[in-house]
Amino acid sequence: MPVIGIAGSRIRERRIDKGMRQADLAQTVGISPSYLNLIEHNRRRIAGKLLSEIGRALEIAPDQLTRGADTAILDGLRGAAAEMSLPVEIARTEEFAGRYPGWGNLIVAQAKRLASLEQQVQVFSDRMTYDPELAGSLHEVISAVTSIRSSASILVGGENLDADWEARFHRNIYDDSIRLAESSEALINYLDSSKADGTPHLAPLEEVEATLAKAGYHFPAIEEKGQAAIGAVMQDAGLRGAAAKTVLEAHLKTYAADAKEMPFNTFSSAAATTGYDPVQLATQFGVETAAVLRRMSCLPAGGEHPPMGLAVADSSGALLLVKHVAGFAMPRSGAGCPLWPVFTAFSRPNQPIRAEVTLPGANAQRLLCYAVAHPIGTIGFDVPQLLRSTMLVIFDQPQGVAPAISVGVSCRICPRDSCAARREPSVL
């Protein structure tokens, strides 16, 4: 499909680059210069035979003139605009990204870097406020300083002290000075170890996701040795935070249990044979559907299997794990789009949902999603039912059995005005 926002501008650029006058190009392809002028200013669509002729005259493949910008860049640019709340030509985002893909990538990369730095600041701030180890060390230091200051003031403040009191306050100052030295040293060691490898501090879930991404979400050692390999994998991961270690260990235990129920080679071929149908696979392996979705997301992409993303959420909407793949992204912080099946599955516990979705944008792919929400924890009277939803996103497998659901990343950068799920106006 021709992309009106880009093709005309590209034709104009290419013509100018080749030093060709507008009138000459118009004559070559058999149209009036004024009509070509309208095309070059993106006021007329261009396709078919005329596009081919212009391409031939400009010595460029027609699809290079009409190819739209990458969806990820478009989303990234819109997201950057939303974050800064500055007046930008949002309506011309696609044209900009198409004409200047390098600059587009740069802006998106800078916006990501900015978001990452802001997140680090937040993590540091949270750490200063809530990190029990840091808070405890600082409390020790300040308590010792307070005590020393009070005792020393009494000793030098002209109080008429008898020898016993004087000795007591001297002893207190001595004890507190030792405590201060020890707590200061502990604090310095803590701060040193935090910055030793120079890597940025990440929130626990991000640290875990970074580890999983590095491993390609696939752990051959656990496939081979099961639970017994978890210790070695944990050691290789080298996570620093206790919270991240706990989250990763829980993930690996689930991974090992899934691998035991669905051995890799058997599962890999069964997945391909069934056309990646999670319900068939769940029946075949005698496991719950969510386990199949998790297992499918761990199949290495690039070979026989299509790329697959994963999102796991609890019923508060918090994302517990996201496997990002190109073209599929969910916001880690802030509220995402509630139309994603990972959230809609909460309304029908235990019932698998199949939905095809499309993201906004001219070049957005149609994605196939499978989701299911299962109860977790204790089930009983007077106990709140906890649910966990798991969604698998499969590329290159659209079935077209039902109209695609229009989803977004988040309201602020979603252009769908009439969406019933909209929480706040879009900046687009």
Binding site: H139, S143, T146, S150, E159, W165
Partner: protein, 122 residues
Amino acid sequence: MAKRVLLIEDEPNIIEAISFILSRDGFTVHTHENGDTAMTKVLAFPPDLIILDVMLPGRSGFDILQDLRADPISAKIPVMMLTARGQTKDREMALRLGANHFMTKPFSNAEVRDNVRSLIEA
């Protein structure tokens, strides 16, 4: 009769220093170190002023302050909070829960003495 000050704090050397300077200033100082049982101590023998540390073993100073303000016996007793955390939000929290004054560690002895005097005389 000497005015009674109850110091709820868990650092023994800070307890000793504050007790000493306030005793020298004519106050009768009682001390208590545990957050869980602090309310029982207050209600058994209500003091004229409470100096309350935020970080205590058991219940926090903020929890105790809430209980103090909720009980008719202790609702009107002036409370001076001590904390090693000087963040604005802690100060705001203390004042919102009904503290009469908020002091950040490390403080000077003169500061403690002056604030205790002014709160008791108010």
